[in-house]
Each structure stands twice: as C-alpha cells, then as structure tokens.
Symmetry: C4
Subunit: 386 residues, 4 copies
C-alpha cells in the first residue's frame, strides 16, 4: 500500500472511481427486489442519496420534492435562501449573468448579510409540506443557526466545511466544540467533511448521527488544485467504512457514512456503495433537475469566497425532472439520469440484496485508459434486456 516516493518517505497509493470497477459474483438478483434503504437516527430513507447543500441545487421546493421521492435534500443556511427574502430574483440574475460577470456577481451576492429570520422561515416552508427538513451551515454559524432551525422544526442538522476535525486551533475566535454541539442539539447532527480512518473515528466519538466523507475527491476538484489537498473517494470511503465498523464493534452504534463528491455517473455511485458508503451526496446531477433553483447553472459554495474563490458558475442544463433523474425513464444515456435504476440494476447484477451486501462486492483495479486507436466512441455491446 505504501510506496517509496523519495529517500526517506513513503506514501499510500489511493484510488478514485475511475480506477476501479466492480465484479459480478456467482448469483444475480431481480433488480426490482433489492433494498436500497438507509437510516439516519430513527429516520429511514428508501433513496440513499442526499442532494448537496448548494444554492443552485436545493431550495424549499426542491427539498420538498426530494423528500417526497424518498431522499434527502440539504438546504444551505449560509447562502442565498437565507440572505434574500426573494431568492428567485437573485437566482435569476445569476442565471442571466454573462460568463465574465458570473464570479464577480456571485461574490457580490454572497456579501449580503444572512437574515436569521429567514432560517426559521425556510425550515417552516419545508415542514409545512410534510417534508423532512435538513439544513446545513459552516461551523462558525452552527451554534446559533441550529437553535433557530430546531426551534422551527428542522429534522436533521448538518455542520459542514471543506475539512472538519474535532480540534480547530484559533486565537482569533472560539472554535465549535463538536462534542458539546452534538450533545446539546436535539436533532441528529451530520458532520463533514473528513477523510482518513483516524479522523472518522474521532468524529464518530462526537456522537454525530452520520459523517460526510470526501475532501478534494476529484482530479478536477479545485481543493486539490488550489490547496493540494485531497483523497480519492474509493480509498477515503473504504477507510471511513473501516472506522465506522470499528466504532460499531466498540460502541454498538452504527454511524452511517455518506460519500460526498466526485460522483458523476451512476457507476460512480455504485462504486461508492461497494466501497462502503451507506449513502452518497451529490450536487451536479441534481443541478440539472427542473426543480433545481439554479436554472441550469451550478456553482460551488467556494465560488463566493472573496479571497480564495474556487470553482466557477457552469452551465449544466436542465435535462428532466428530479423524479426522472432519480427513477427514470432516462432520456439521456450518459448515466446522469435514473440514478436509482442504475443502482438497482447494478446491485442486481452483482447479487447484492441490500446496501450491506453491496459493501462486500469485489472491487478490482481497472484503470480507465483512453483508447487512442479506438475507431468508435462507444462500445455498445452492452446488456440485452434485464
């Protein structure tokens, strides 16, 4: 696992989605009969997919529809929804900005202060529709925002930053004590993002209800490009899963891990589960939904960072309803629609009756090499019926 990368240092070889593939076993299952459910606290969800707390992805309307379909959408409390009484007007402006103006406009939009009254309002709007209300903010806002959110009926609270560890050192401000925070917050708390076995174990000790796994996962991810930081998701997920299993053995508490980031196609999602994920969190695929507030555009939360902007607004298009993206029928064949259909078909083909069995599917290393001399774009000798 560890190779010499210089005179006196070794490094682990880590793996991403493109470098691995899954291997069918000795039985197959009717895809309609596999169980994809997962639980956070006492809540059970049939769709083990979370929509990421990004302003181009989740607003109240999206959250309600996602909940109705069996999944979870996380509403960002640090973004447009809580800074503007009328977010749609702002979202329209972002969608209409030229490519040149976009980054500057997004930075400007996020300079507007957060209105705390909107936190409660958004939670209530979701709850009024009988949907599960899941909201998130950065650690610095967590103490205050969580109280408001809980008071207005939120079901799950997410504390999220690029890299979260139980210990944060600062003399300028007081750090969030995650142990205390989880203990006193009356609803399940999801914490993220982390990687490595050790940090996962430590964060599980805070009594979090679930953890988000993934830091700088993709090759194109700006965290890796700008900060040099990142762990490919297959390895990150396997390590976190090992920590989860050890934590369970030691404490009897099963803390689900949610692989967050780097999944672009159905196959990537399937691989995340095979690596040990209990659920996955996805942004860009959902930004393409008719219900997404981004109007076909998508941007990362770090795009608005005035000093160190990372990522930019990109056009992803609107390709179908959220229901189509989750359950099909797919109108496009690039693996970005019918994510649940892909997951079920994969589980069936691999003989995994549920997510737990999916965790034990054989993974191989099978680099995704670009074929130079390939005559055609696609090898479509694939699957007949089933």
């Amino acid at each position: 696992m560890a190779e010499w990368i210089g005179k006196d240092r070794r490094a682990r070889r880590c793996y991403g989605f493109d470098e691995v593939a899954l291997v069918p076993g000795e039985k197959t299952i009717n895809p309609n009969e596999v169980d994809t459910s997962f639980s956070i606290g006492k809540m059970k969800f049939n769709v083990p997919i979370l929509a990421a707390a990004m302003d181009g992805v989740v607003d109240v309307r999206f959250a309600v529809e996602m909940s109705r379909l069996g999944g979870i959408a996380v509403l960002n409390l640090d973004g447009i929804q809580t800074r503007y009484d009328n977010p749609d007007e702002v979202l329209d402006r972002i969608a209409k900005a030229s490519a040149q103006e976009a980054t500057a406009l997004i930075q400007e939009v996020y300079r507007h202060p957060i209105k705390e009254k909107l936190i409660g309002k958004r939670v209530e709007e979701i709850k009024r529709k009988k949907a599960v209300a899941v909201v998130s903010c950065i650690p610095a806002h967590a103490e205050r925002f969580s109280q408001i959110a809980v008071a207005h009926g939120a079901d799950i609270f997410v504390v999220q930053s690029t890299v979260t560890t139980p210990k944060h050192i600062s003399s300028e401000y007081k750090s969030l004590d995650l142990y205390r925070f989880c203990a006193k917050t009356k609803i399940p708390v999801i914490i993220g993002n982390c990687v490595t076995y050790e940090t996962t174990l430590e964060l599980m000790a805070t009594d979090a209800a679930a953890l988000l796994i993934g830091v700088g996962p993709g090759a194109a991810c700006t965290t890796r490009g700008v900060l040099g930081i990142g762990v490919p998701q297959v390895t990150a997920t396997i390590d976190a899963a090992a920590a989860r299993d050890f934590h369970y053995k030691r404490t009897g508490k099963y803390v689900p891990i949610i692989t967050d980031g780097g999944m672009n196609r159905g196959g990537d999602i399937c691989k995340a589960f095979a690596a040990g994920a209990d659920a996955v969190m996805i942004g860009s695929s959902f930004a393409r939904a008719k219900e997404a507030p981004g109007r076909g555009y998508h941007w990362g939360m770090a795009t608005s960072n005035v000093n160190l902007p990372r990522g930019t607004r990109i056009y992803v298009g609107t390709t179908g309803t959220l229901k189509e993206i989750l359950f099909g029928p797919a109108k496009v064949d690039d693996g970005s629609q019918n994510l649940m259909g892909a997951l079920k078909t994969s589980m069936g083909s691999l003989g995994a009756a549920n997510i737990k069995e999916m965790h034990t599917v054989e993974i191989i290393i099978a680099p995704s090499i670009q074929t130079e001399g390939k005559i055609f774009q696609v090898d479509q000798r694939v699957g007949m019926g089933k």
Copy 2:
C-alpha cells in the same frame, strides 16, 4: 496481484488490451501456413470470429455471407428481425433519424412485440442458403424461443445477458435453469456473458457448448459507466481460460471461450487469443460492412432499454464488404479491415502455428501512453515486406 486500496481491502489489478502487448519468440512462421480454426461442438470454423447479435450488424443476408466466409454470425431473436415482418423498412427509419431522434426512435421500435412466427422464418431463411444458423435471445425468452429455433433447423443457440450466473434470484418470475436448459436443448448452447474463474467454472458445469466472456470490458463501455461493473478483457480472458483448462482436466470436455467486446483493432483480437480465447465476438467492426443491416449505423441492445438506456446510435460508416473486413485487401490502415490477415501475420510473427500455440505467446505490460511531445502522428518505421 492484489493491492491495498484502503484500510482493510485489497483489489486485483486487472488489465485491458491497451495495457499489454505481445512479444515475438525465437521463431517465425509463414503467415499463410498458420491454422486459425476453432470448433463448437462438432462444427469447425476456419474464421474464429463471431459477429455479435446486434441489429445493426447481423440479419439473414449478413449471416449467410459470414457463414460462407467461414465464420459465425449470431442473429438476435429479441430485436428488429423478429418484431417486424419487413425489418428493412424499420432499419431505414433508424438510419434516417436525426441524432436527437435516434434514441427515442430505437426505444419505440423495440416496444413493438416479438412475433414468434418470425423466429422460425428467419432461421429457415438462413438454412435455405446452406448457412450455419446461430440465434440468440435473453434468458427470459430462452425456453420458448429455443424450441421454435431448433424446430426450424437452427444449429447453435445463444443465451445472453449482460451478466449471466447459474443462480438468479427473483420472486416475480421463474428464472431460467441453465443446467436443465442445456440438457434438453438438442443443439449446442452458448451462454454469456460472464467473467471470473469461479463463474466460468460453474457455467461450464451446465454443459454449455461455449461461453461468452466479457462484462463491461472497455473503459468507454456504458455498463462500466452506468453500473460501475466491468472487468478488463485481458484478465477476464486469462481467468476464463484457466477455468476452461481446469474444467478440461477434470471432465475431459474442452469448452471453448469466446472473448466478447472491447476489441477495436486487429491487435486487440490478437491479444485476446494470446490471453486464451478460442474465438472472439465482434460488433462494431462488422457494422461497417456493406452487408451489415445498420446502413453505416450501429447501436447496442441496451439502447432500447426504456428505463435504463445505455449506449446510443452511432455512425460508423460503411467501409467495405464483409470479405474485405475479414480478409482484405484493406483499403484503410486503421486496423479495422483484414482482421484475418492481421491475425495470421501476428501468429506468423509470433511463431504460433495455431490458436493453441497462440495461447502461450508471451504477454508484456506495456501501457499505451499518449506521447505529448510527439512531432508526428504515426511512427511508421514498421515492417518491411512480409
């Protein structure tokens, strides 16, 4: 072989065609004097290449010509040929559809029901021309369609799905019992697709006449992209060949393995044989034949899957007759024509007098790296005469 990909999991490194190359030995043979034949049951074929059961590749006319030239073409019983009395009219429509309309049209075309009377008709059309009639369908149709096909004179029956295992679990429908199916079917049965040593061994125990090897073989393959499933073909073929050899040692029965998918150029075919294939199955290269029903277009059978379409219609062009594609003279130099010439020249250069000797040729790992600073496209200091 197995490397650590995370805290507590190892994964085998598997290899595809682009990552390996063949090494000449200490003798060479006149390419005209090598023997490329292979057998299924008691039938012997000089061309160890099967045309895939795809509707853009094989129809009655193509099957007849392929048989005449010494190879095997598999007619798809779940497709256009058995859904339409006049397939040409439908094929014309697909060829004339715009790129945008194609996937939807293909999905619509395949919603038309299969007419069982056309199964017998197509088999008879092939037999009438004294050709070998090989037909295929998915497991769910196998019991019924095989009886009709056999009754009308089919020579070989192929049961094929993306992933086939001896055990399929479903409470919704009754699974095909492959042991029983092979036992009662009066003609040789080819089963596919599978990968791994264990599944190959188990499927050989069903008394199949041959197996199709390959699941999600190519990097671009949609099975791998959409489902995350796939094993690169060099490793898949070596593993299956090892199972074949062990099965032979144990039972005395030699069950040929047919590597299916992922081969784009002559060199890929040569590598499949070196890895242990007795024959190969090819789609796209044959879609370019004048005799192919696709009119220069090609699409996978999963393209028509309403819920989880994978692959799309692509334009491959018509570059020559089937005879030219198999035996040359090649008019293009991309390795897609004169496949048999390439195989024979390769065998001669490698000193392999027949397919069995080809199975022992030295394989090296030699990644296909794209040369950045390369001044010219092609290094053509290649081979003089011979």
Copy 3:
C-alpha cells in the same frame, strides 16, 4: 522503490506534483495564524516564494515590489537588463514580435554583449528603493559578476545552470570552484540547480546559503524533452530535504532548499512544502503580474541559446498586480492568484502551524486521472466558508 525496467537494470519510481495529494490530519488551524516565514543566512522573509531570474519576470521595478511584499525576486545578470541600457525598448520589441519571429528575435537580442557597468547600476537601482537585491548568473560569469554585484551592495548572489555539480570537467576553460567561490563571496550564495541526495549533500559542503532543487521537473519541460534529463519535483524535493536534514545533523548548519520549477498552481506549491521545501521559486505565475517586464509574455533563458534553443516565447497574459498574485483577492479561479492565501489555507486545513510542520504532512499517491465520462468540467462541491 526500484523496479526492474529490463533484464539487468532497475529504476526508482519518482513522483511529480500531479501524482500526489496531501491528507488532512486530526487538527485544523485558523489560516490567519500560520507562520510561512523562511530564512536565508540572517535574512528572514515572510513570503517563502522566489521570483525566478527570467527576463520576462524580474526587472528592477519588479524586484523592488517583490521585496516590499516580503518575498525575493532574482534579477538575471546574463540577460536583457545587463545587455541594454534601456531594456524596456528591447522588451517592447519582443512583446510585439509575431510568433514566428519571436525565437529568432530573442536569439538575436541575447547576442548583444553584457555591459559590466550595468550590473552595478541595476543592483544600485534596487538598493536605492530599500529592497533586498538578489542577482544571478551562470557559473562561467560568477567570479567576475559577483565581485561587481557585492561591491554595489547586492544582498544575495545566485549561481545557476541547468545542472550544477561540484565537479565540472573541461580542458577548454577553467571551471568555477564552488567551494572557493562560496568561501570568498561576502554575501550568501545560492547554488542551483541540482537533484539527488548525493549531489545535494556535496553542494551543501560548499557552504552555500541555500540550494535550488529541480532539473527538468515538468513533463512538458524542454530539458526532459530535448536532453532526456529530469527528476519529478516531489521526489527531488524529498531527496534534497533528506540531504539537508542529514547535513544539519552532521554540521549543525541548516541549508534551506528551494524547489524550483514545475509548479503551476497553488496546490503544487503546497505540495512542494509538504515534500520538504523551505521555499519555492516560480516563474510563469509571476510573468502574469502587471509589474512583470514581459508585458504578458514569458520565455525561458534557454530560448536564447543559439545552438540548442529550448522553450519559446509564450503569451501568458497580464491578470493582476503582483500583490494580487501573492495575496489576492483572486480575480480568477484557476489557482494562479492568491498564492499565499492558498498556502495559508492549505496549511490551516492540514493543521501545519509553520513550514517545518508542513514538512511532516501526509502525502498520498493519487494520480490525476482525466475523467472520460465526466459530465461537467468542474466538481465544485468544494469548501464552505473557511
């Protein structure tokens, strides 16, 4: 570490920036509170980044501004600044030349003789502005130019060639004795470039104040393409750092190593520090500064080599002030601006309070694979706040 690359030879596997990533640990630090300073001799610098001695990057004005901002800019004594009384006129011509004319023009410009009186003049121009004056030349000019530079007040002298070793064999001319040179030069001497543990140790024995590490670092680097020579920077830096640490243990003298070349983005700089660098030297990112004399163009010093030109003039554009490039706010999101912000954020996320702690951050091997099937260009689920 060493793999067989043929019958009787082994080779070490070496690693570059794109192949590794950094892993967060168990704590994080407020980025505003990390210490990025480094020292050469008795001089301490808050910005551990040197601007390379390239004529499109550093002139007097640039050097003054860089010094004011806390970093170091090296003025090239073998280039335009010392060949022309009025460098701006020449730099204008280079910037205005067509792409076709550029290489020939640059070769011509550098045929003009160096005027020794300009060496003193340039040093004085820098010192007059109270800036740190750092100048460089090739070994053949070092004896003479250093005396002039020191006499006029230079603070640090750099002797630099593509590959520098303590022993240079020639019967045509007298080689520079680096031991003697360091001993008699009254200001700190930086020597470069070198790679390998052994050569670093030997060059440290010359009593150099710091070493430049890096020979043919990048895949695209012309030294590697034209001469076949090069060591990827992560391994080169780790090896040199190991030599530095051993030298320190043996002699009590800490000789900083400066990783030079191959860093294009903030993340690469962070990785260089994690590999053991005390500082880094950068060219192209600074060529984009408003203060850079290249007017948006950039060329290597080997471009002017009449017999073996390597590299060419390229357009990099002018994207902001030097201050913006170093400290932001970034106007672009490609990681080429706010280099210090990126470094501090990275150190904070990794829990490294200073450069020494950064040397012990975990590095993983995480190849930068281009995702074929990626639907969107950028995965922007990156970092929220902080």
Copy 4:
C-alpha cells in the same frame, strides 16, 4: 518485474521513452569534449545515428550527405530507388497526391518490379561520391541483392524485416539461413529487427556485425495496433544490451546494438543510449531534411503492403538541412533539430564522457503525465547558458 495479469499468468512490465528520465550524477563535462563515436566492424562513425531505410528519407544524395557528416544512411533496395530509373518523378507524384489518393498510389508504385541493375547503379552512385554505402533489403531478397551490392562496392549490408528470428518456418519457400548468409557475405551484415534477450543472443551467434533492436516500439506504432506485437524501447534496449554484454563476455566479440524506432525527440535518443544502445536508427526526423527525397512527406515501408497496409503517408514538412538537423543551429525548439547538440549537452550534463559511460547513467521511472490544470503550455525555467 513480472506482475500477475490473470489467474495463472504473469507479465513483465516494460518501459518506453516517455516513462523514464535520466538523472544527473556528481560531475558534469563540457559538452564539446564528449566522444559520441561508435563502430561497425572496422568502420568508425562520429555520429551514432543511422537514417532508416525508408523511401521518404534516404536516396543517393541523402546517403552521400549523411556519410559526409559522419553518420550512416541506409538505402532501401526494395523500394522506389530500385524500381524506377527516375525515382524523382515517382516521388513527385507521391508528394502531390491528395491525402485520399496517397495510400492507393503508394501501393501501386510499389507493385512495379525491382530492377536488379538499379541495385548496382545506386551503390555505385554513392561510392562515386566517396561515401559509405549501406543498403538494405528483406530476408527473401537478401541472398541475391547482397551479391550485387557487394560486387558494386557496398560497405555494409542490412537484412531487415518487422520481426527477424534465426528460425523461420515455411513450406512455401526457402527461408534465409542467417548463419550461412553472414558467413559468406564479404561485408559486415546488420540484422533486424529483434527484441528480447534470447533472440538477441541467438542473432549475435549468426556473426552479424550489428543488430537492429525494436519491434512495434511506439504506442502509436501500427505493428502494435494491427498485430498486437511490440516491446517498448527502453526495456527492449536494456535487454538487448544485456545480451550484447553477455555475448562479449562469452566470445570476446562486441556486437553493437542499434535502437530502431520510437524516438521522436533529442531526449528519446539520449534515453536510448542510457538504456545501452551503441547507435540509434531514426526515420521521421530525417524526413524533414531538405535533402530527404520525401519532399516533406514520409511513409512507412508497410504502407505499400497490398494486403495489410499499415501506416500512411504523412506530412512532416521540411524544416532545415540535414546538417542543421544533426548539428544545429536549431531553428525550431521541439527537439527535432540539433540532435547531436542535444546528445552532447545531455552527455555533458550527465557526466558521460563517451557512449560507454552513457550506458551507466541512472534511469528513473518518471511518467509523462499530462497536467490538466496547467496554465501555460511550456515550463521554460530551463537551463541558463551551458
């Protein structure tokens, strides 16, 4: 060295030029003082580079100039020069053909019979200019053509095919007995091409004066694409060099090995020598010479193969005189000119006083990865002076 690529098979990992780099040692040498000479039989050449026997590269005029400059050009006796009294007229037609017509025209041109009288004529034309006359043909022609060539004064005879082994099996024709052929031919015989330690040893036993090493070397090479055959050149050269050294130890005869194919830039040539080559054979770089008969076009000898054409005519342009390509000054900076300057500079930087010392230079594995996030095309912080 050998890795498992499947259940029961292992494969050696082999390396090509793009995957390795050379490491400077502890001394450097003045490039003007390195010795690049090599010998075949009793002939000594200062330029260890052979121009390949390709019709777009070598004709009488080119051969004379190459010899004058200290190198070797091999004239192809199976090509245009011996099929046509007036080759220039034919070469004009090839140069003027459209891209579509080119392959067919080349195939037609090579159907014209070889005129044996032209063999002697060409040799005499070269000898008349006091140049070294080196000619080549395929094994089938060797017995007859060598007698004519020797009779007219040829200095070295080359027998070359894609894969040459001491044993060729055929019942259709009589194979060339290489042992007998070398014994009876009165001038030194160069045999090629081969790879592997064993075959190199066996071919050395035929008493050849030198061997050509290389089969399907490049990733883009059509031999590898069409036939699946190929060994990357770094490993092939190391293996052949090991055989040469063992043959020398056993017999006292030093048989030089000439690495043939896959070298596109100066750096590749340097790496071939570091891997153990005594000389290198190059095609495409020379096709760009003013003296090259291809008029800026280049095609492989297999392009004319009627049944299995490989490679095609490509436009390489005319960039300078042969002298400029060999000795500079370079007008372009892509590493395709001043090949000897690059070799000497590389040897100097690596501290190798002659080719023998170059054989012991440290090689590292340093994959050439395409940097995704790279802002600029070229990192030109390369080399100052020297």
